[in-house]
Symmetry: C2
Subunit: 266 residues, 2 copies
């Protein structure tokens, strides 16, 4: 490893890991999601330690996070001799698969069906629950969600079908300052990595795995928090561009195989 590439990797990590205040367990989920999303995929204890240490995660923090992920049913750990083998559980795999299209798709196609929930103005609705399920509040008592309306929505009047183009007032509502800011910061991070690669930095496969994980993690934090009716559906928004740039960069950082990573760690 040359001094220059060491410098490149460190500044990339500083940029990518420094920008978020992510929980360790959340980063672990991203690592498993990026590297070990097939049934049977396993990551050894030493490999996981090696990857997380490169990000700056302390061994104790990783142990705590792994404990939590096992407790919540995301990850299973098996001891083989003196070595631990970690893998996503059935549940972890299914959750990971649900999120994957939104994270890894090169472009987002708007859903064919939408529905709007119109709530009784005289009762309190569980707005938080709707937002968690991907609904966008467009007006007081009015939430728009993707796909068909779920059964048994109770007290709502529901209109289900197609959505018109998004008028400017709603575009402005969707492109709120905090969301736009997040996209801009991610773009800056992507630029740092792309710039290093342009300048001849050639990461090792372990570095590649770590850089990929951090990019995916940053991106995932943004897109999975976005409602169905998101900035990506607004023409010319920073979001669609950001997705294209994430995709372009991940293509330059080819996903290493677990086998190669295990070999590189030992």
């Amino acid at each position: 490893m040359t001094d220059t590439s060491q410098h490149s990797f460190e500044s990339i990590i500083e940029e990518l890991a420094g920008s978020g205040n992510s929980r360790t367990w959340s980063i672990l989920v991203t690592i498993f999601g990026d590297l070990a999303q097939k049934t049977g995929d396993e990551i050894s204890g030493p490999l996981l330690s090696s990857l997380t240490q490169r990000i700056g995660i302390k061994p104790q923090a990783m142990r705590v996070a792994l404990h939590r992920l096992r407790r919540d049913g995301w990850i299973a750990t098996e001891k083989v001799g003196r070595t631990s083998k970690h893998r996503l559980t059935e549940y972890g795999l299914s959750q990971s698969l649900i999120a994957s299209p939104r994270i890894y798709a090169a472009t987002i196609n708007p859903p064919e069906a939408w529905h709007v929930l119109l709530a009784n103005p005289d009762t309190q609705i569980d707005e938080k629950n709707l937002v968690i399920r991907g609904y966008r509040r467009v007006l007081p008592n009015v939430h728009v969600g993707a796909g068909h309306a779920p059964q048994g929505v109770g007290d709502f009047l529901v209109v289900e079908g197609t959505l018109s183009t998004i008028p400017e007032w709603l575009q402005a509502l969707i492109a709120d300052a905090a969301t736009v800011e997040e996209y801009i910061r991610l773009e800056q991070n992507l630029d740092v990595v792309a710039g290093a690669l342009d300048n001849g930095y050639s990461p090792t496969i372990s570095e590649t795995a770590v850089i990929r994980a951090l990019i995916v993690h940053d991106w995932r934090r943004i897109v999975l928090r976005q409602p169905n009716l998101s900035l990506e559906l607004v023409p010319g928004s920073p979001s669609a561009q950001c997705r294209a740039n994430v995709w372009k960069l991940l293509a330059r950082l080819e996903r290493p195989t677990l086998e190669a990573l295990e070999v590189a760690t030992t």
Copy 2:
């Protein structure tokens, strides 16, 4: 004409004509719509005078109303010798045909398509215009209309498709006191007419034409003012029952032909 039937007709007219404060021109539109809705149909001056006088409309009021309807393009008048012949214009016929299904249908089938207009909360919308076009305001900045969304609705977010069952809070909003009151009053009027017929009252064809016109007029005033998303779509509402009763009563009062009415007048 027996004393009893004279009495029946007078009390019916008192009930039906007394309950509304309708403009004469509006009653004339109903008469033409009920009796002369085919191209070529004409009502002579003497017949029109005879019918309106039976309702209690003064000759001078009828002349003013006819003048207004000609000016607004609803009615055309031709002099044949000393007799005037009145008919709906092309425009009048088309307007009458648009309204007919909503007035005369035995039952109302909900439209297959609906659409909801979601308005920019920061701008003033022309709510009056939407209401005239049959939209129902269900929430602030939210209007529901029947059928497909019109082109070029501008600043609205539009969701177009199917409508869920109407939740109770919206049923209550739709069944506002004033509307329910109108239906109840009309039911009472229908009862008076049905009661007289049950008691053996057999109206002349001129009386039939007048009673029909007044029933249709009362009913028309209510239903045409109702938004697309109306009380008729609320299960068990007074409105669907009222429509059935109007229809039953009109079936008992067979529409006279213009020829027979002209003969009866001369």
